[in-house]
């Protein structure tokens, strides 16, 4: 990261009343990080939408080698008659929830329909397994190639090792960092020029989760099973792989929610600009008073 002074801020700094606004702008994100970030965002967005459409074709999850309606799902999103009325019922283990309107039984263009995930969350919006698979597998290539380019390159230039791997001092600062995050306090000055420990762990988790998505996804492919049967054994069978695929995707959704909230809290314009142009205005102490 190279520090430089923001030219536009310089003339303002000469006026005493505005001196506090003088700010340091650093080059935070390299071109490849920015490019792979947006491709990743696009691919993940489409893969979640199309993935939910695919899920709808068989809205049950199982553990183990095999599983169908004739076996025992640990999660099911169904529509069923409850007291003579159609309801959406989501079952996890032995707990059942009425999720009518969102899960199991929801409106599609004004008409109530039995579908696990609602139309507004799926790609395409209508229930179509064939098309959802086309979207999913096209963007699976985008996601995988993008992830590979990012990983090889950022390991090569030691971006992962330098900027993402937490140092011992970082690890010791976890409790303090957790507290600061709860208080919505954001680092300023020198501290804001590097990722804090929770950020580092979150980004490393995302790398692990995307890797997990790709591996569990491949393990659902009968062709790839013949290439790497050990993956089936490692993950505990095809239905376990399918369930893990769903669980990892849920964790990625959780990451995205936290990520977006943090972007908004940390200053959305500065954050989004830094991911487009690479330039990031370092927040100063007085900014947050």
């Amino acid at each position: 990261m190279t520090a430089e002074l923001d030219d536009r801020a310089a003339p303002l700094a000469e006026k005493p009343s505005l001196r506090l606004r003088a700010r340091e702008v650093i080059y935070r994100h390299t071109f490849l990080v920015r490019l792979t970030h947006w491709l990743n965002a696009l691919a993940i967005f489409i893969m979640i939408g199309s993935g939910l459409n695919i899920f709808n074709a068989h809205p049950q999850l199982y553990w183990g080698l095999k599983g169908s309606e004739l076996d025992h799902p640990f999660l099911a999103i169904r529509d069923m008659m409850v007291g003579g009325v159609e309801r959406g019922i989501t079952t996890i283990g032995s707990w059942s929830f009425d999720t009518t309107g969102v899960l199991g039984w929801s409106k599609v263009g004004g008409e109530w329909m039995g579908r696990a995930w609602p139309s507004w969350l799926t790609i395409p919006g209508n229930q179509d397994l064939a098309d959802a698979r086309h979207w999913h597998f096209l963007f699976a290539w985008v996601l995988s190639i993008n992830a590979l380019v990012y990983l090889v390159w950022s390991l090569g230039i030691r971006h992962v090792q330098r900027d993402l791997m937490p140092t011992v001092a970082d690890l010791k600062s976890i409790p303090r960092s957790v507290l600061e995050h709860i208080q919505l306090k954001h680092p300023t000055g020198e501290e804001a020029k590097r990722y804090n420990v929770l950020q580092r762990l979150a980004y490393l988790s995302l790398i692990a989760l995307v890797t997990g998505m790709i591996l569990t996804g491949l393990t659902m492919s009968p062709g790839f099973n013949a290439v790497a049967p050990w993956l089936l054994d490692l993950l505990g069978g095809r239905q376990s792989a399918r369930s893990l695929h769903f669980i990892f995707a849920s964790l990625i959704v959780a990451f995205i929610v936290v990520h977006l909230v943090e972007v908004v809290l940390a200053g959305p314009i500065n954050e989004v600009r830094s991911m487009i142009t690479g330039r990031y205005a370092v927040p100063q102490e007085h900014d947050h008073k």
Partner: protein
């Protein structure tokens, strides 16, 4: 962000959630895009990459994983046609399929017509494999049958033969074909010769040690173990060797393929 306040943050988050509520589909116009034939071609690119990558990785003719008797599904879900119906099939059922013939013809030097009893007398292979439906469920079953490659070799395909097309006795009607006129509802499937000659590709006549029952495809069905369930055609009457899939039914090489699903179902 000097002017930045918590309240703004909240408004920002709500606006973000609003975009979410507008729907993934609307943002990408996915529905409209999907309808467009040129975008269908873009989407189909992935299928070609998947086929070529998997073919490269499977060039050693690797086998699908085989399981143990203890792994068998207690109840193996039957899907698609559960009974082909019709007078002709009913007669076959009444006669225990004694008159059922499997015809192997098309681009072959010696067309064959085999009875189920003749096929049962041929060398057989028994395998316990997992059946993965495109919908997402899996079931494990034990299959016994004559290796497809052996049957095809007996018919001696000519060098121009590229695909084996399986004509079935069931008619699924129902769903219209994608992007065109209603394709015939007759079930059919096809594989290329790479998969046809794979050692685990069988014309199966028994499941879990019993003759195939009607919901699972009696009297003869296909097993191509490195592909999804819809490739495992049931109630097979005829195997036709061809050089191209165009001109057969909807032209995409299978009942579900004519309705938008991938011809290569290894994924």
């Amino acid at each position: 962000m000097t002017l930045f306040t918590r309240r703004r943050a909240l408004i920002g988050s709500l606006a973000g959630a609003g975009v979410g509520l507008a729907g993934c589909d609307q943002i990408f116009q996915a529905g409209r895009l999907t309808e467009s034939m040129s975008f269908q071609k873009v989407l189909a690119v992935a299928q070609t990459w998947t086929l070529h990558t998997q073919r490269l990785l499977l060039s050693g003719g690797q086998l699908a994983k085989e399981y143990q008797l203890a792994d068998l599904s207690p109840r193996f879900k039957a899907n698609g046609t559960l009974h082909p119906g019709g007078e002709e099939y009913a007669k076959q059922v009444a006669g225990s399929f004694a008159d059922w013939r499997l015809l192997i013809d098309g681009l072959v030097r010696t067309p064959l017509s085999l009875s189920v009893a003749e096929i049962r007398r041929l060398p057989s292979r028994t395998q316990i494999t997992r059946h993965d439906c495109v919908e997402g469920w899996s079931a494990i079953g034990q299959w016994t049958g004559a290796p497809l490659g052996m049957l095809l070799k007996a018919a001696a395909p000519v060098p121009t033969a590229r695909y084996a097309v399986f004509h079935c006795a069931d008619n699924l009607d129902g769903e219209p074909a994608k992007g065109g006129a209603q394709a015939p509802g007759q079930y059919y499937e096809s594989v290329d010769l790479v998969d046809a000659y794979h050692p685990q590709s069988l014309i199966a006549y028994a499941m879990n040690g019993q003759p195939l029952d009607i919901p699972h495809g009696a009297p003869l069905r296909l097993r191509v173990e490195r592909q999804l369930g819809y490739k495992q055609a049931k109630y097979i009457k005829r195997i036709q060797l061809v050089d191209s899939l165009h001109g057969l039914y909807g032209g995409k090489g299978g009942y579900w393929e004519d309705r938008g699903y991938e011809w290569y179902a290894g994924i």
